[in-house]
Symmetry: C2
Subunit: 347 residues, 2 copies
Amino acid sequence: MLFDARGREGQYMAATIRDIKQKTGLSLATISKYLNGGNVLPENREKIEAAIRELHYEVNEIARGLVTNKTNTIGMIVYDIESMFSGVIIRHIGDCLRKAGYALLVCDSCNNEQVENDNVRFLLNKKVDGIIVIPVSGKEDFLLQARAKKVPVVLLDRSFAVSDFDCVKIDNRTAAYRATNYLIERRHKKIAIIASRVDYTGRERYKGFCEAMDQAGLTVKKEYCMLGTHTIEFGHESMRQLLAMKHRPTAVLMTNYETSLGAVMALNESEYDCPDDISMMGFDDLIMSHVVKPKLCMVIQPMKELCEKAVELVLTQIHTKEERPPIELSMGTALRDGNSVKPLQEN
Amino acid sequence: MLFDARGREGQYMAATIRDIKQKTGLSLATISKYLNGGNVLPENREKIEAAIRELHYEVNEIARGLVTNKTNTIGMIVYDIESMFSGVIIRHIGDCLRKAGYALLVCDSCNNEQVENDNVRFLLNKKVDGIIVIPVSGKEDFLLQARAKKVPVVLLDRSFAVSDFDCVKIDNRTAAYRATNYLIERRHKKIAIIASRVDYTGRERYKGFCEAMDQAGLTVKKEYCMLGTHTIEFGHESMRQLLAMKHRPTAVLMTNYETSLGAVMALNESEYDCPDDISMMGFDDLIMSHVVKPKLCMVIQPMKELCEKAVELVLTQIHTKEERPPIELSMGTALRDGNSVKPLQEN
DNA sequence: CTGTTAGCGCCTTCAG
DNA sequence: CTGAAGGCGCTAACAG
């Protein structure tokens, strides 16, 4: 049995502010003030610091949080932790937050709205100061609990049709519009698209695609529009179907990372060659474009900037008490060249 | 200004156990007991449940944790959140934990020992009940703080040379040994290896490689041994160098996911073809093998089982107070066939 | 089964 | 600048 300075018994008890009170003879208030950066007489400061070293004292953030109602922690909810997209985002968000003196708490929604909902509860329970979220779908109900508790929320990458929350994303419609135009300019007419119909982002990209086609006087063939889930599987199956068609498209636009991956897989398993048999244009460069041969043409999102802005938004929400209307930031994208699109001849 | 039942004022105050005491006329103890699943008179239970609904009461886990000294939360520290390997692990760990009624708190070490160290502190501050960690390197110093506080720790995938902590991993030496043999059986003699010298795991795999070579009477050429960091960049640069050699190896063994990725990238950028010009064998199937052409031969780790065991180990540590010597679990691997290894002719 | 009384570890008024 | 007292929200003994 161990007994500490206060005569408590147990396996292990961390030193508390009281232990250092006992050691220094100072009052709790003085010590607390020191811990929070207040002014203390030099000799007292000495004493306190010595005691802290000696007792290996560390502030109990839980107890502190209980009274201050702050944790200096931001929660992040990603739709799918297995997606490389999530990994990159988390890395950037974490970096920004660290610099700002905040910690990050990550949750995985497993592409499941129920889990997503639980995640918000969990973070709220952990009393995070704010939440950054890449939602699973287009429904924002699960965020209402945060709103009710006045916890700042920022949407990242995927927003909702009409949203009441701060949001940082790319201009999805324009991005898809330009990517489609890139194909059209190279004389492609039979263009297919693989997009998510689950999230708002996917639907926006689909619209950009249609706009570009319409504007070029090209008809959007219904069987060329593969609208489904935001998954590798869907990308794979869609590409498989497209390749099996009697009238194969000459080009395919994959509008997110997962479906891009799946489509490439399907192509590799087939007897067809890119770009000779079919041209491909992807979304989101995450290493994969370098691993795959030929190098994919892709729409590039400014990941780091997106994250910086998202962090900036939560932190300002936290530091300004007054309510303000939600801010929606829309950033531009770039088109990165590759060898996966073959210019067709004038027919 | 809002005033709640107790006359407090402020922007927003969650209902507390006291509010429901006021509403029901019951004592704190009774309510607390109800909340913790104790037996309460039916009529009182009614009252309490009504009050909870009415006030939207939710337990404040922070306050609860302060007194129980438990959080029902496990911390997980991964060496690099951008690695798909991390994503897959986190998903599985999260699933297991959820089923067991525990929450997961994820930290990214950014491949940086300093950050790794901070992460442990962070988790300890958050009073997690246990920690599962995939370490950055072979040093275990950063875990001593956890040990000092008697917080259970389990190492996953990467262990240390001599470790004092529970650990779940694969039999790295045998895995590499078999992979090498696979190449040797196909008459390869000039075999190169790309491995990490940073972590214990990498060094073990290197040993397995050497053993197989020795046993087959083949010499391990020094310039064929690329030992460096566990990164895409290193894999890329190593493969570049190997391909540029006058006496190119006929086969390359990439001993982890990151270097496998990098090596494939380098190959794609080169004028060489796999398996005609060079054969390749990778580690860790994470979709990539399907995206890459030709399909890679790979060593497959039982990811799900690894995670299940890791969770099992932390939870038992948590639930049994007695100290016991550390357990080290070593699981077997499988070799998955592909088209990336060309059998050579009898020379 | 219920109520009372102490804390958990810390911060924050207020006097001095 | 310092000290004493009260409370954050909840649980854990005890009595009854």
